[in-house]
């Protein structure tokens, strides 16, 4: 029951009037930015990062939690009312949500999504409270070889599980690792890839890389292909649910989290797979099979709840192992590093006020989200009408603010543009952006752990695999690498198993 006590302390932190204000501000900002078409949660979080620079870490992360959940929620509003999801996790919400909106049931779709987010987030965060301290305890003794193994796992997972092409994923990862090399070597002070420049000796700030790849890269990419006369959003009233809809959705809300949470915690691409799985499950269990594809409310409720819970699952591996499994988690990890805090098993011991304040504020943020978003939905929907030139000009503007705020140096803006152009090229040629960001964030750290591990073992490579933990992680990596070979027979077996258990 130790976790409960800590959580109560966390609520003490999160519910102080000032922190409550930061949480509310974060939720509002996050929803507003997330609703804007073309801005997914990762870009929203990266763009809003500078807002928290002047705050102390606890307040900053409380605000950050609000931004995260707000942005996720805002994204589903976009896909329901505009049918053009900005990120893969929101694709499923559009499949049933948009037909509902077209049929004049947009209010119900939004309500099902909002309550789904609330339910998924609540259950997911409760699971986080229950699991995270245990995981942290188990992981507390892990040393350099184990950390290195975890980071290799993150690299492999992000390049082989996500995206359609491994080569392109690896290319992206290597670009990220290269950017991470720039600067002084942390152990010897040796200059690497600085070409004698003093500015480069400090390295390239992760925030600049994230903002450059996510925001500037996206703005330039859209600018080159701007759709003339874009989709018209469907007008919507205040969200509400009738009794019949409630009867249909409550089970979906409760089922979603148990699909979403486990997938969030493992490096398998965040909400993409679980939302789809939830959709398929709901479709199979639905009594209104004829409505699917034309606007079945369960198809909004279940996946949205799963998405929200997977966000909580993401936090388990991010906080306890320092392992980011999604783009948003990667940006959050960058934010932690900004404050000189290293997420990992020791985080719960060293920064209890921060961690538990953050977790408690997730609950607070969820309540605020539900309370704010149900009545404000028509206002948010108006944001969808923003003229596209203003939207992308605004993205460039705030990206510049963020990059300049990092260190107050003009050269950072030039680096930002260069990285933005790299991001543009990556979008053009189908190189996923996430591996590069993960490479920049984890690369330097992985190198340090590798060198520390080899220092302990005096150069012997066996020093990397001398703990059961590390061996387990490498086994997982081997499975991931062999996955394309295993997938087909496994899927066939699973398909057979599922139909049997259903019958």
């Amino acid at each position: 029951m130790n976790a409960l006590n800590s959580l109560m302390d966390g609520f003490g932190t999160a519910l102080s009037p000032l922190n409550l204000l930061w949480a509310a501000l974060g939720v509002l900002l996050g929803t507003a930015i997330g609703v804007l078409p073309g801005i997914g949660p990762a870009m929203a979080v990266a763009l809003l990062l500078p807002v928290t620079y002047g705050l102390d870490p606890v307040a900053a992360f409380i605000m950050f939690a609000g931004i995260y959940y707000g942005a996720m929620f805002g994204g589903s509003t976009t896909s329901i009312l505009l049918n053009t999801p900005g990120e893969s996790a929101a694709v499923v919400a559009a499949m049933e949500g948009n037909p509902m909106a077209k049929a004049g049931r947009g209010a119900q779709a939004l309500a099902a999504a909002a309550i789904g987010h609330f339910a998924g987030g609540m259950i997911g965060t409760i699971l986080l409270v229950a699991l995270a301290p245990t995981v942290a305890d188990l992981a507390v003794d892990i040393g350099a070889p184990d950390y290195f193994a975890i980071m290799v796992l993150a690299f492999i997972a992000v390049t082989s599980v996500l995206g359609s092409s491994r080569v392109r994923g690896l290319a992206s990862l290597l670009i990220g690792l290269t950017i991470g090399l720039v600067g002084l070597d942390q152990m010897t002070g040796q200059q690497r890839l600085t070409f004698g420049s003093l500015q480069l000796a400090d390295g390239v700030d992760v925030v600049i890389v994230a903002v450059g790849l996510f925001a500037i890269g996206e703005a330039l990419w859209v600018a080159a292909h701007l759709r003339r006369g874009g989709a018209e959003p469907i007008p919507v009233g205040r969200p509400w649910l009738g009794r019949g809809d409630l009867r249909r959705t409550w089970k979906s809300w409760l089922r979603g989290p148990f699909i979403g949470f486990p997938f969030g915690a493992i490096p398998a691409g965040g909400a993409e797979i679980p939302t789809f799985l939830s959709y398929v499950t709901e479709k199979r269990l639905s009594k209104h099979k004829d409505e699917w594809g034309k606007g079945a409310i369960e198809g909004v409720a279940g996946p949205e709840s799963a998405a929200s819970a997977s966000a909580a699952g993401t936090l388990v591996s991010m906080l306890t192992l320092g392992l980011p499994t999604t783009a948003v988690a990667a940006v959050m990890l960058a934010a932690f590093q900004q404050y000189g805090i290293q997420p990992g098993p020791l985080l719960f011991e060293r920064e209890p006020e921060l961690v538990w304040g953050l977790i408690a504020s997730l609950f607070v943020g969820m309540v605020l989200l539900l309370a704010l978003n149900l009545p404000l939905a028509p206002v948010w929907a108006k944001l969808l009408r923003i003229p596209r030139p203003y939207l992308y000009a605004g993205i460039m503007f705030f990206a510049a603010v963020g990059a300049y705020a990092v260190g107050g140096e003009v050269v950072d803006l030039v680096i930002l543009l260069v990285i933005g152009l790299v991001g543009f090229g990556m979008r053009r040629y189908g190189l996923p952006v996430l591996p590069a960001v993960i490479g920049v964030i984890l690369g330097p750290n992985a190198e340090q752990q590798l060198r520390r591990a080899l220092q302990i073992s005096d150069g012997s490579v066996t020093g990397l695999v001398d703990t059961p933990f590390a061996v387990t992680v490498y086994a997982v990596i081997a499975v991931l690498l062999a996955w394309p070979l295993l997938r087909r027979p496994l899927a066939r077996a699973a398909g057979r198993g599922r139909t049997r258990s259903d019958a």
Binding site: Y53, V222, Y392, G394, Y404, Y429
Partner: protein, 186 residues
């Protein structure tokens, strides 16, 4: 591992006539080889930088500052080669879609160049002219480049947004931004 070739955003011109356009269309079809060239160049750069490092005895532990760059550089070379093979076999990176992205039209390079120029201009202005001015010009310029021509509304929105951002960040959130001469007057 690869995506179908028909997702390439540039519609391949199907006027097969004289050899010159044919070669051009081959190059356009295989423009992804440029990515391989970039990766190759990056790999060479990383390797050259690593190999010219003069590491003295300050090195602690068996793995010095050179090892990881060498691995990364070699990795870049290998990936450049693998990607080239993939492209020549007909693999294509799928251009990213999005809410406001229309891939049926060829890329509009003018806008991209204009945006980059405006961004650099604003970056150069931020210190002499201050953030409110540079930010407003950035927003207005970017909106203009993206096709907005409301001369009455655009500058006003840009000025308000920039000034508001300056006040909120510099005064309320404690993130310092240069005010410039204008803020000195106000």
């Amino acid at each position: 591992m690869t995506t179908p070739a028909d997702t390439s955003p540039e519609p391949a011109p199907d006027r097969a006539g004289s050899p010159a356009p044919e070669r051009r269309s081959w190059l356009r079809d295989h423009s992804e080889l440029g990515v391989c060239a970039m990766l190759l160049a990056l790999g060479v750069l990383v390797l050259a930088d690593a190999l010219t490092m003069d590491v003295d005895i300050t090195q602690r532990g068996p793995v010095g500052p050179k090892t990881v760059p060498i691995v990364v550089g070699a990795g870049l070379l290998v990936i450049a080669a693998l990607l080239a093979v993939d492209v020549l076999r007909g693999g294509r990176g799928e251009a990213e879609g999005g809410e406001d992205v229309d891939l049926s039209e060829p890329a509009d390079w003018r806008t991209v160049l204009l945006l980059s120029g405006i961004f650099l201009g604003a970056a150069a202005l931020i210190e002499p002219a201050g953030f409110p001015v540079a930010g407003a010009l950035l927003f207005w310029g970017a909106a203009f480049a993206l096709g907005s021509r409301r001369v009455d509304r655009d500058p006003l929105i840009a000025a308000v947004l920039s000034l508001l951002t300056y006040v909120v960040f510099d005064k309320l959130l404690g993130v310092p931004l240069p005010g410039g001469p204008l803020m000195g007057v106000l």
